[in-house]
């Protein structure tokens, strides 16, 4: 055991040196080169945070191993660690945009912790409030309702995501129970998890309940964003500014004019091509017409002569 502790100590020491080196090294402190079109800073940040999570989990696993914790517990710890990251990604994916949060907060539709909009606040809004007009109150209520729907949709979506994780966990446990040779590395464990999770996810996507949850969260988020945009547009119009719908009306008219112009140009081109053909061979249409008439007359003559023969 003492040998193991020595190894741990040595490893932690090396580890510390690395992180000190990284923290003080130029790449981390130097902004991404201006010519690099990829968002290098974001890439470095992703790299750093993912590395940090991986390292932390590995360290915690080492500590657990030293305390001889059951491997089943380690598996739960792994799933919990990775699920947390996945949930963070999902929350980021479905979070309200910052301007929407700011506006909801400005209208007291959110408290500073972004906790769910309570029924009690809805009840207050349902009654007359000093300094708040009836239409303002109605608007706030509508916003509160949409926000509630969004939160409900988000909860349902996360429930679906959790079910996928649970299914993946079960599959991973089965794999680990039978894996031969046994899984020794964290990297392998991640690979198994990825395979099982994406497979469970794929199955879920084809179920009606997942599709509904996905549609609900997408639509709820968009409804809330549209609501805030409409609110803003009304304020712009009241201030005598051009609102987005008015701007869109102009764009639509402009687009229709462009379309008409294009069709006109295509028609002109077609006529021009016909004209060019005519100019290149001016007698061609007359010749073709004469040929048609000759063909008709020939057929008539043939018909008459066959009658005479009869």
């Amino acid at each position: 055991m003492s040998e193991f502790y020595q190894q741990m100590e040595s490893w932690l020491h090396t580890q510390q040196q690395y992180w000190q080196q990284l923290a003080s090294s130029a790449p981390l402190n130097t902004p991404a080169p201006a010519t690099a079109p990829v968002a290098m800073a974001e890439l470095i940040s992703r790299l750093g945070s993912q590395g940090e999570q991986f390292r932390r989990f590995g360290e915690s696993l080492l500590q657990q191993s030293s305390l001889s914790q059951p491997l089943d517990t380690q598996l739960d710890a792994f799933v919990s660690y990775i699920q947390q990251q996945q949930t963070d990604l999902l929350l980021r994916r479905w979070q309200l945009p910052e301007p929407v949060i700011a506006m909801l907060r400005g209208q007291n539709l959110l408290d500073s912790q972004l906790t769910p909009f309570g029924d009690s606040l809805k009840a207050i809004l349902s009654t007359a409030l000093p300094g708040v007009t009836a239409s303002q109150r109605a608007r706030m209520l509508a916003g509160a309702e949409l926000y509630t729907q969004y939160q409900q949709a988000l909860r349902e979506y996360l429930t679906q995501a959790n079910q996928i994780s649970l299914q993946a966990r079960d599959q991973l446990a089965k794999t680990l129970n039978t894996a031969e040779p046994p899984v020794h590395s964290l990297t392998e464990l991640h690979q198994h998890w990825t395979r099982h999770y994406d497979s469970a996810y794929r199955e879920a996507v084809f179920t009606d309940s997942y599709q509904q949850a996905y549609g609900n969260i997408s639509n709820a988020l968009m409804r809330l964003q549209s609501f805030i945009q409409q609110w803003r547009d009304e304020q712009y119009e009241q201030a005598g500014l051009v609102s987005l719908p008015l701007f869109d009306q102009v764009l639509k008219q402009q687009q229709q004019l462009r379309k008409q112009l294009r069709k006109q140009q295509q028609e002109n081109l077609r006529l021009q091509q016909q004209l060019t053909q005519l100019q290149a061979a001016p007698w061609q249409p007359v010749m073709e017409q004469m040929q048609t008439q000759i063909d008709q007359m020939t057929r008539q003559l043939a018909a008459l002569s066959s009658k005479d023969d009869a």
Partner: protein
């Protein structure tokens, strides 16, 4: 659990190796000043609004007489076929003696919100076809469409069959309702009109997130964890970063075009039913009688192989050929097979059918 045995020494070595890779990644990234794409020389021959039409002249002695126009999807950019010299489908085609023309649709902004499929197909694409024919002094051209650009090419070939000599579709959805189509499944309850009301143009970033969400773990946590391994040398890192640059360079989709495409193709599957409308004209894929080469990947998670295979029955071509590659949606273009199998196949197939 018999199959799960962590050895502390081995685990500590693994973490140490990971940290070393991470440190090396930072070092490599710090040495990169520019991530270059578009490797093959090209000349702009036409522009309209935000669209640009480029010409990449054929190289080599054996040249194909009919020009090739490549139409890419509105999502992402066409330089995916020219990311780096070793992984450039475009370069291989040009070296194979093809005169290649490329449509770069550009980045639509709010002013393009009402551009619809009629504008893209009867307008932009048709104008590009005419410009290429004019530039190459040819009555017809060969059309190659990629992904959504392939769907556009199918519509165009059905509507203007006299202008297209040969048609190549790559990773192109034709039947949008095959049972394994994840995108259609996800789209089922999403309100398209609301999306357009909310965003105007559909943000490219949103589409990227949707694509990545089809394999959430592999393209999320796992991708980030694999990153240090792909950033060990400058060459490796550049290769990785070029792909990242392309993934992030995702134009917004013109709102009305998106709505029409999503509703008609994804939700109602009208293309395969022969009921899709482009402007006032119905698209009948049976009008396609030209030779058709249909290329797709057997591991494509965006456009499942069955969605592409459906073309054989949907069109009337008597000279139909399919090439199924053991690759994913992007691998069809950037993998080793893309260079050694796909490009030579396209060149030979076209050369055989373009003479005379």
């Amino acid at each position: 659990m018999a199959g799960f045995q962590f050895d502390p020494t081995q685990l500590s070595q693994e973490l140490q190796a990971f940290n070393q890779q991470l440190a090396q990644s930072y070092q490599t990234l710090s040495e990169i000043r520019e991530v270059d794409v578009w490797q093959t020389p090209k000349t702009e021959i036409y522009r309209q609004d935000k669209l640009r039409l480029y010409h990449c002249p054929a190289q080599g002695e054996q040249r194909c007489t009919t020009p090739l126009l490549i139409s890419y999807a509105l999502v992402n950019r066409i330089y995916m076929i020219d990311l780096e010299p070793e992984r450039s489908l475009l370069r291989r085609l040009v070296e194979g003696g093809l005169d290649v023309y490329l449509i770069d649709w550009g980045h639509p902004d709010r002013a393009d919100r009402f551009l619809d499929l009629d504008d893209y197909i009867h307008g932009y694409l048709n104008d590009c076809v005419d410009q290429v024919c004019l530039h190459a002094s040819s009555d017809q051209l060969n059309l190659l469409g990629i992904c959504q650009g392939g769907t556009f090419s199918l519509c165009y070939s059905a509507l203007y069959p006299q202008k297209i000599k040969n048609l190549i579709t790559m990773v192109t959805p034709v039947d949008f309702h095959t049972p394994d189509n994840m995108l259609s499944a996800l789209a089922r309850y999403v309100d398209t009109d609301l999306a357009i009301q909310c965003y105007g143009n559909l943000p490219g970033e949103l589409l990227n997130q949707t694509y990545a969400s089809l394999m959430p773990m592999a393209l999320g946590v796992q991708k980030h964890l694999n990153m240090p391994g792909q950033l060990q040398s400058k060459a490796q890192a550049l290769s990785f970063l070029r792909m990242e640059r392309w993934l992030e360079d995702s134009p917004d989709l013109a709102g009305e075009a998106f709505r029409e495409f999503f509703e008609q193709f994804f939700k109602q599957n009208l293309l395969i039913k022969g009921e899709a409308m482009i402007g006032e004209q119905r698209v009948d894929l049976k009008q396609i009688t030209q030779p058709v080469l249909n290329i797709f990947g057997s591991h494509d998670h965006l456009v499942p192989p069955a969605a592409s295979r459906a073309l054989e029955q949907a069109c009337s071509s008597q000279d139909y050929e399919a090439l199924e590659l053991g690759a994913g949606h992007i691998g069809v273009f950037v993998s080793g097979k893309a260079q050694t199998v796909v490009a030579p196949k396209i060149v030979d197939w076209l050369r055989l059918r373009s003479q005379g």
